[in-house]
Symmetry: C2
Subunit: 399 residues, 2 copies
Amino acid sequence: MDELDRLISPGAATALVRSKVSLLPAESVPLAELAGRVLAESVVSEDDLPPFPASTMDGYAVRAADGEVDRRLVGDRFAGKMDELTVGPGEAAYITTGAPLPAGADTVVKVELTEETGGVVRLQGSPGDRKNIREPGHDLRKGEEVAAAGTLLTPAAIGLLAAAGRTTALVGRRPRVSILSTGDELVEPGERPGPGQIRDSNRFALLAALNGLNADVRYAGLAPDNADRQRAFLTDRLADSDVLITSGGVSMGRKDLMKQLLPEIATVHFRQVSMRPGKPITFATGGDGAMIFGLPGNPVSSLVGFELFVRPTLLALQGAAWPERPRLLVRLSHDVQPVQRTDYVRAIIRREPDGWSATATGDQGSSRLASLAAANALLVLPPENTPYKAGDLVDAMLI
Amino acid sequence: MDELDRLISPGAATALVRSKVSLLPAESVPLAELAGRVLAESVVSEDDLPPFPASTMDGYAVRAADGEVDRRLVGDRFAGKMDELTVGPGEAAYITTGAPLPAGADTVVKVELTEETGGVVRLQGSPGDRKNIREPGHDLRKGEEVAAAGTLLTPAAIGLLAAAGRTTALVGRRPRVSILSTGDELVEPGERPGPGQIRDSNRFALLAALNGLNADVRYAGLAPDNADRQRAFLTDRLADSDVLITSGGVSMGRKDLMKQLLPEIATVHFRQVSMRPGKPITFATGGDGAMIFGLPGNPVSSLVGFELFVRPTLLALQGAAWPERPRLLVRLSHDVQPVQRTDYVRAIIRREPDGWSATATGDQGSSRLASLAAANALLVLPPENTPYKAGDLVDAMLI
């Protein structure tokens, strides 16, 4: 047997894929388009935020040392204004949330605890020291890191970049991706399959799976099992892609062209992963550092292979830490027969009063997409000699 | 006190918002652009899939009743081909994964369990009945529902639509959204704040939060505290939006214009939610059924309000069931002082050998976006009279 056909574990396969990731170059992107991108620089605040002591309440700015006595109203201080207003002993200024504390004042009494009549402000009790004041640098200190390189830019992180005055940021370039479905049996979804044919679903499922990963899709097509055409396609796509995804043609059959062609044009790293579904997955690198994933033709296998290897790769290429899906410990609601490989069982997990329960989504055939469409998790069941029993606690990946 | 200023619980507020959702009209969208959209029709398979008995392995199609005897090779059957090939008694045909079973054959022996020499196929033992065959309708049965109205279209669901021959699908129209940041203290991120000013971060954080929700953003801008201008803006935007999001101007201050203006042009349903952060949240409806969310100006409050009320609304408008974030039971790693409202504590949750632990992300001031940027969950702490203690189990929303 070819050394490349040696079965490797999903963990070893993941480590191999990770080791081949080279960061894509950074590009500058406008603030309004940064959602979901991966920061490629460290952003530091150049100022204290807020730059002034600000009120956190609508109320009255006073001097605490004056105690409980009524104050004489000397003016208003609204957010966005910075005037000459000063609060002296026995005085108060009306102040709104976010407005700078007037000179002289050192505490704010919220409006609900006051009563203002004819220019006199009465307080309920004595005000505390420096109450309801947001001190300079409370939100961000000058020199503080706003976001580190490698940060996946969430709404809050993007808000911080805006607050720090950034109108653009350097982020990892969008990975260029090409997708090819292969197989003589495939026709386009709009065509009526002839005898022995089925419609191509993988290309559309994989395109959808790219959603939200910042992929720059350069090509998505369908090719019959013709070695010359597929070789030409692969060469052409390698020159224009950071990630090349094929489905079909990687198994043991005589017409499994991808398996034959990839070694001609790229360096193959593995071809068999000890997992179900998705055992025949080819991973190769070629061209100018392109990552090539030869996924199986069965629709569930192809999407599970994408989930385990391609999705994390796309984010890692942009500079993110290898992203793992959240995992939960769940209780099996029925027995599961183990297999000789790590079994990724499509399941519905539900929160019960005493924890999470998991139920497989029916027949787990690797062509039965409905088993994946109905699932909200993949149970991760390592090979075992004895059956998994109802009540066993197992790991579930949220998908 | 105005009846509208009555505090209502987050649950009652959610129910009120949900009750005002009217489904947007459906639109037809091409298969390649359906990711993340919400299906507005029931899609039924018009055929069995596969339409023929297919091999699930590369191997040999034979008759089981022949037992262990050597078979005479009579041909090949590749995927995508349907020829006259027939397998008679004592005969075998080479077959690849996905290829239709030849007439006469009733079982498939996988290639690893065979040896072919000079047109003779030797089997390891007797083949079982109908082994390695995917029966017609295994993946989808004729008349079976492929996906129901209201399905959020995942990659697997889109693969199923393709397999069923759909090139388009009816989905809920993208909600038209307008966003306005308000406040005299705000300047654009590219500007240097003058005395008493800060940069607008909410608009960019909210824009980013819309990512992945199929929002059709019609407008995103910044307005000073000028009643005429804001009124004109609101009227204009209501005519062109399904969802209108403002931030700022909803609190107790004298310049809180949104609070004053919204009742003039819309029906206000609530103005105060018993939550922290984000108590002053206004929800109103106006125009031709537009949903209006007056979020607070503090950046954390505005994003938490978006998360609880606006995000689910946007998906529900497209026809999805009211989407809840997954929740986990987590163990507090420190005490937390309760407040009089439901406290949404920004926290980092980690999986430990004995379950999940939760640690708050430092100062929980509602202006301190860093507390949210660092978080992967919001702890949901209802009001209590006694402190939450380290070790207590509490609910965490994954964000």
